[in-house]
């Protein structure tokens, strides 16, 4: 064992350059589940991806923040999730298009276990040491659990994204360690809606605790760092008791364990360790060592050392701000959004499947929300136009980015007739600061509170699914 460790197989010696965190707006109170099902009421609440969100759309939101906080070239993109929207079709391609990455990137989806998020970080670092200038690691999960089960209470939805690189690093990777062991813990077969899991005492004592203990011991030995030198320990384990056992076995001060968001967000699958890390980074000091470890069919650990550059880094939305920005969802609506509770469809036609050729032609508009600006008269307009709406001249349009611009509501409509999993549909006419007007749906809002003059920002969503095609596009939301 020692020989292996000395010939250390580490992930590439890259580091975190930037990050973005995303927690969906909606929260389901655990007491609200109990009130319907008659089960014992749990404490706190969990984050719920809205009816128009999925692992990819949330990962786009986190990625937008990460790239906005540190603009620059990206040469590789890795998306990780346990809940990919497609069984066949690259989700990373959607994320690349929505974040306007160039076509010349290497892109991969990683899935299969909640450890996929850590795998993405490790492989992202490998890409950097393999020569990629920077890698975008986007991780999102929208976890589905059977009503009345424990997982329904403990899981949550969210996303996180990291830009990894070798310059302007705010937390460098000091050492990594991995273990892989075949173990019947959690599983979900093709076509199944909900995961199964083995009995807890067995998985805790025979898998989670020993695997985490070993992987942490290994990574610390590789870096020649003592447990007492750690500033923070981020442990993402299905069973909270694993942390107690690790603390006892490795003599780590229990106060160094990060909040696992059990009461505020829930366990966000593949994204969770990363999300916890983005919560720990803002207060970390230069030289701080942060250990991140996850367990599932084995275990991964990464030891980070925070650099002086961290102090100057400002996330676009902090995890704390994302946790505070919220609105409740009723349990009944949650069940409808996830189509766990089938409902009578409206007497309106089903949405039409978007068509391949028009989507290809309008890729920059549909995914990147790029409109146009007339260089003759200076008027921004969206969708992109051929002839200027203002000066009526042809041939003066240049691309113009609207996704990161804020806007104000000019007027609105509350549509109770349109097809939606979350009626009524709120439509808003919005005027962008700096010019440009658009008519679109508004999400994450309370319809009765919408008013002319309200400030909104754009968010990437899945409008609907038709014939299996996930129709992604942009909506407005109140500023978060």
């Amino acid at each position: 064992m020692t020989a292996l460790l000395e010939s250390a197989f580490n992930a590439g010696m890259a580091g975190i350059v930037s990050y973005g965190s995303y927690v969906p707006y909606r929260r389901l109170k655990r007491a609200a589940i109990a009130a319907v099902l008659g089960t014992p009421p749990g404490k706190g609440e969990r984050a719920i991806a809205s009816f128009d969100e999925d692992s990819v759309s949330m990962a786009v939101e986190a990625s937008r923040d990460a790239l906005k906080a540190s603009p620059g070239e990206v040469q590789a993109l890795i998306f990780a999730t346990t809940t990919p929207p497609y069984a066949e079709k690259l989700s990373a391609a959607v994320i690349g298009a929505a974040t306007q990455l160039p076509m010349e990137i290497r892109a991969t989806d990683l899935t299969g276990s909640v450890r996929a998020g850590m795998s993405a970080l490790l492989q992202g670092a490998d890409a950097v040491s393999g020569g990629a200038k920077r890698t975008l690691v986007a991780i999102g999960d929208s976890r589905l659990a059977a009503p009345e089960g424990k997982a329904e209470q403990t899981t949550g939805d969210g996303a996180v994204a990291f830009v990894l690189g070798s310059e302007n690093v705010i937390a460098e990777i000091e050492a990594t360690a991995s273990l892989t062991r075949e173990f019947l813990d959690s599983w979900r077969a093709q076509g199944e809606q909900f995961s199964h899991s083995w009995e807890e005492r067995f998985t805790l004592t025979q898998a989670h605790s020993p695997l985490l203990g070993t992987v942490i011991k290994n990574v610390l030995e590789k870096a020649k760092v003592a447990p007492g030198d750690l500033s923070k320990v981020i442990l993402d384990a299905p069973n909270a008791r694993a942390a107690d056992e690790i603390a006892r076995a490795l003599k780590i001060d229990p106060t160094k364990f990060s909040d696992s968001f059990a009461l505020t967000i829930g366990q966000t699958g593949a994204a969770h360790a990363g999300l916890m890390l983005t919560a720990a980074l803002p207060s970390a000091k230069p030289g701080d060592r942060i250990l991140v470890a996850t367990v599932a069919d084995g275990a991964d650990a990464i030891l980070f050392r925070v650099t002086a550059a961290n102090a100057a880094f400002k996330p676009v939305h902090s995890v704390g701000r994302m946790i505070e920005s919220k609105g409740d969802v009723t349990y009944a609506n949650y069940l409808k959004w996830r189509e766990i509770l089938p409902t009578e469809p409206p007497r309106r036609p089903d949405p039409e499947r978007p068509a391949g050729p028009p989507m290809m032609r309008s890729e920059k508009w549909k995914f990147g929300f790029i409109g146009s600006k007339c260089t003759n008269c200076g008027t921004p307009q969206l969708p992109p136009q051929l002839v200027c709406v203002k000066c009526h001249k042809r041939g003066f349009m240049e691309p113009y980015q609207f996704a990161d611009r804020t806007a104000k509501i000019a007027t609105y409509a509350i549509d109770r007739l349109a097809y939606s999993l979350n009626p009524p549909t709120v439509n808003v006419v919005i005027d962008f600061d700096g010019g440009g007007r658009f008519l679109c749906e508004m999400t994450d809002c309370e319809p009765e509170k919408v008013a002319i003059g309200d400030e909104v920002e754009m968010t990437f969503r899945r409008l609907f699914t038709a014939d299996g095609v996930k129709n992604y596009f942009w909506k407005a939301r109140p500023r978060r």
Binding site: R348, K366, T411, I414, D415, R416, R437, C440, I452
Partner: protein
């Protein structure tokens, strides 16, 4: 304005209109044959006397065969036209130009829609392959955009604004109750209208036009020939039609309290007809009241009320059947119903009846100049039609 108009050069010499409503026992072909034969009889003509046809339907058929097949038209031109909810008016406009040009002596414009066969609530469009970014706003939601914008601009609190909209629907139901061909021949209380279930706030179901089946037809000839067929024809004073540049959803300077397309068609039509003061000179109007806020805004766009004051005219009864300028004396889209392709011709049918003194219980005293207004699309992105007709040449 580039359009020169065809004032007094074309006359309507016969019209027909089916009852509008839920015709479970009739298809588009039944409705078309019924309306066409009513028009033949009204003009004292045989089918072979008509030289050419313009058929308007948005979705109840494609091509001229939709009409020629059921009517067994004997090898004559039938042109199918579509311009959303202004389809019926567009058919009439084309037929008028055809006879004015001298290309034909007698033309029929006919419109039809069979909406109740779809099984859906409200109007359904689509079917064009697209990139999935266009949204799925329903018609009531699109037109409801006008309400908060108008209320805010003119300082109406939402409850007062709702009373104004309610009064418009109430008036149209009151008029429709006097019309044996209307879909809803029933007066409704203000309270029932105001409290009807919400469709697109602040619009309730009673703020929406009736989803309906129906057909209407007109036969037109050159004005100099009119008296050969008919003792009291009505004369086309103006026809204006515009498809807008759809700048409402693109331009921040559009404020959702007007239809620029309507303002432009009204200006054009008034210039053609020689109308300088529509509030005083127009005896009656049929306007496109697809939803109550539309009618409110149209009063101002058509120059019936100065900007920001139409709501006061509504509350004062100015547009009631007994008012100074009766609007939608036949009940409008609200209570006559709105079978898309037929509606523009149905509006003209009311002009025909009123000017000939055949409007029964809802007869307006001696109307001389009438206006029909028909639009399709949504606020900021629409097509608009305005016609002016009169009982006399000159």
């Amino acid at each position: 304005m580039a359009s020169k108009g065809i004032k007094d050069r074309v006359a309507i010499i016969g019209m027909g209109c089916t009852k509008f409503g839920e015709h479970w026992d009739k298809g588009p072909e039944d409705l078309l044959v019924d309306a066409a034969y009513q028009a033949y009889e009204s003009a004292g003509m045989q089918p072979e006397d008509v030289d050419a046809y313009w058929l308007g339907t948005m979705g109840s058929g494609v091509s001229g065969l939709t009409l020629s097949e059921p009517l067994k038209i004997q090898y004559k031109p039938v042109t199918r036209v579509e311009n959303m909810c202004a389809t019926g008016s567009e058919a009439l406009r084309q037929a008028c130009y055809a006879v004015a040009s001298g290309a034909f002596d007698v033309a029929m414009a006919i419109g039809v829609e069979k909406l109740k066969d779809s099984g859906y609530s409200g109007l359904v469009m689509g079917g064009i392959p697209n990139d999935g970014t266009e949204g799925s706003m329903t018609a009531p939601a699109s037109f409801s955009l006008l309400a908060p914008a108008y209320f805010k601009k003119y300082g109406l609190d939402p409850d007062k604004g709702k009373d104004v909209l309610t009064r418009i629907a109430w008036k149209n139901h009151k008029n429709g109750a006097k019309n044996p061909k209307a879909q809803f021949q029933k007066e409704m209380s203000l309270e029932a209208i105001k409290n009807s279930p919400k469709i697109a706030d602040p619009l309730g179901i009673m703020d929406c036009s009736g989803v309906s089946d129906g057909s209407a037809a007109a036969i037109v000839v050159r004005a100099e020939d009119a008296h050969k067929y008919c003792k009291n024809p009505i004369y086309i004073k103006a026809l204006s039609f515009i498809a807008g540049p759809a700048e409402g959803p693109l331009s921040q300077d559009y404020d959702f309290t007007t239809f620029r397309e309507v303002v432009a068609t009204a200006k054009d039509a008034y210039a053609q007809a020689g109308i300088t003061n529509p509030r005083e000179q127009i005896s009656m109007a049929e306007v496109h009241d697809c939803f109550t806020p539309t009618e409110l805004v149209l009063y101002e766009d058509l120059g019936f009320s100065p900007r920001g004051t139409a709501w006061q005219d509504v509350m004062d009864g100015f547009f009631d059947l007994e008012g100074k300028l009766p609007v939608n004396p036949d009940g409008g889209l609200k209570s006559f119903g709105h079978p898309i392709g037929a509606s523009g011709l149905r509006m003209m049918y009311e002009m025909w009846l009123q000017m000939r003194g055949e409007a029964g219980q809802r007869q307006i005293k001696n109307p001389k100049v009438g206006l029909t207004h028909n639009l399709g699309g949504a606020p900021g992105r629409c097509v608009s039609f305005v016609s002016v007709v009169g009982s006399q040449v000159g």
